[in-house]
């Protein structure tokens, strides 16, 4: 049963991802992106990371996408004529893709990655208690740094959205 769900949701993730890249209308792209995030949350549930699934829906599909849609509608950009992509970009993208394929194949074909059904460990991210414990013991410093980062981001956004005069001073 889980296998069927895996195939359903992975197809949904990939299809919505292709939709984000291909859609001409930015609002449609954002809607596809919400679809990707929601199916990704479903994949997290399949991996028994329930807390992360909730966070994914709340933060990504909720807050981040609202911000995105707000900005898209605020700017209201007109669709411009598609310009030619340069040859260098195509070459670079295919080299990048080739590297990614080689890396994925080598990771997937490694013997240590093959899981035996009996050897599957207990889900560690299933409950909130070990999560909070880890955050405030092993990962206390990253936790503090992240808090600081959020503060810096807030100050940065306020500074960026201030209207500036030509000499750079705030009005």
């Amino acid at each position: 049963m889980t296998d069927v769900f895996f195939y359903i949701f992975s197809t949904a993730v990939l299809a919505a991802g292709i939709g984000v890249v291909l859609s001409r209308n930015t609002v449609n792209g954002a809607m596809f992106l919400i679809g990707t995030f929601l199916s990704m949350a479903a994949m997290f549930v399949l991996l028994e990371a329930y807390f992360l699934a909730v966070i994914q829906v709340l933060v990504y599909a909720g807050a981040v996408m609202v911000l995105f849609l707000f900005i898209i509608m605020l700017l209201d950009v007109r669709e411009s004529a598609a310009k030619k992509t340069s040859v260098y970009t195509w070459v670079a993208s295919f080299i990048g893709l080739a590297i990614l394929i080689v890396a994925t194949v080598s990771v997937v074909s490694a013997e240590s990655i093959k899981t035996k059904a009996a050897a599957l460990p207990e889900p560690s991210g299933a409950s909130l208690k070990p999560f909070g414990y880890e955050l405030f013991t092993t990962y206390l410093l990253p936790m503090q740094v992240t808090g600081f980062l959020l503060l810096i981001a807030m100050i940065g956004v306020i500074a960026l959205s201030k209207k500036l005069d030509t000499d750079g001073t705030a009005k």
């Binding site: 889980t2 296998d3 992975s10 993730v13 990939l14 991802g17 292709i18 984000v20 890249v21 792209g29 992106l33 995030f37 990704m40 994949m43 997290f44 991996l47 028994e48 990371a49 992360l52 966070i55 994914q56 933060v59 990504y60 807050a63 981040v64 911000l67 995105f68 900005i71 898209i72 700017l75 950009v77 411009s80 310009k83 992509t85 670079a92 993208s93 990048g96 990614l100 890396a103 994925t104 990771v107 997937v108 990655i113 093959k114 899981t115 560690s124 991210g125 070990p130 999560f131 955050l135 092993t138 990962y139 990253p142 992240t146 959020l150 981001a153 940065g156 956004v157 960026l160 959205s161």
Partner: protein
């Protein structure tokens, strides 16, 4: 049975979709959304590794990535709005003042 390798393949496929989006699209907002796609692909790989190896590290890492991505989106969109105010465009081809 679905194993770790299945999740990694899905993750790398999603990453390449986002990668091509970043390289081939010209709209800054779409490029930004494709960046989020790539971040999510990395998240999926981390959670899958964490699940199949029984550690907590991957999960906590994804938690931090989501936090940083939220901050990054706020700052990035503020930059895009500031650029739009100054230049009246969000197309990368037209935002080439630093070139040459």
């Amino acid at each position: 049975m679905i194993g770790l390798e299945h999740y990694i393949i899905v993750s790398s496929l999603l990453f390449s979709i986002g990668f091509f989006g970043v390289l081939l699209r010209k709209n800054t907002l779409v490029i930004y959304m494709c960046l989020e796609l790539m971040l999510n692909a990395a998240n999926l790989a981390l959670v899958a590794f964490s699940r199949y190896h029984g550690g907590m590290g991957g999960n906590v890492f994804v938690f931090f990535i989501i936090t940083v991505a939220a901050a990054e989106v706020a700052v990035g969109l503020a930059i895009i709005v500031a650029l739009f105010r100054k230049r009246q465009t969000v197309e990368v081809e037209e935002l080439n003042t630093l070139k040459n």
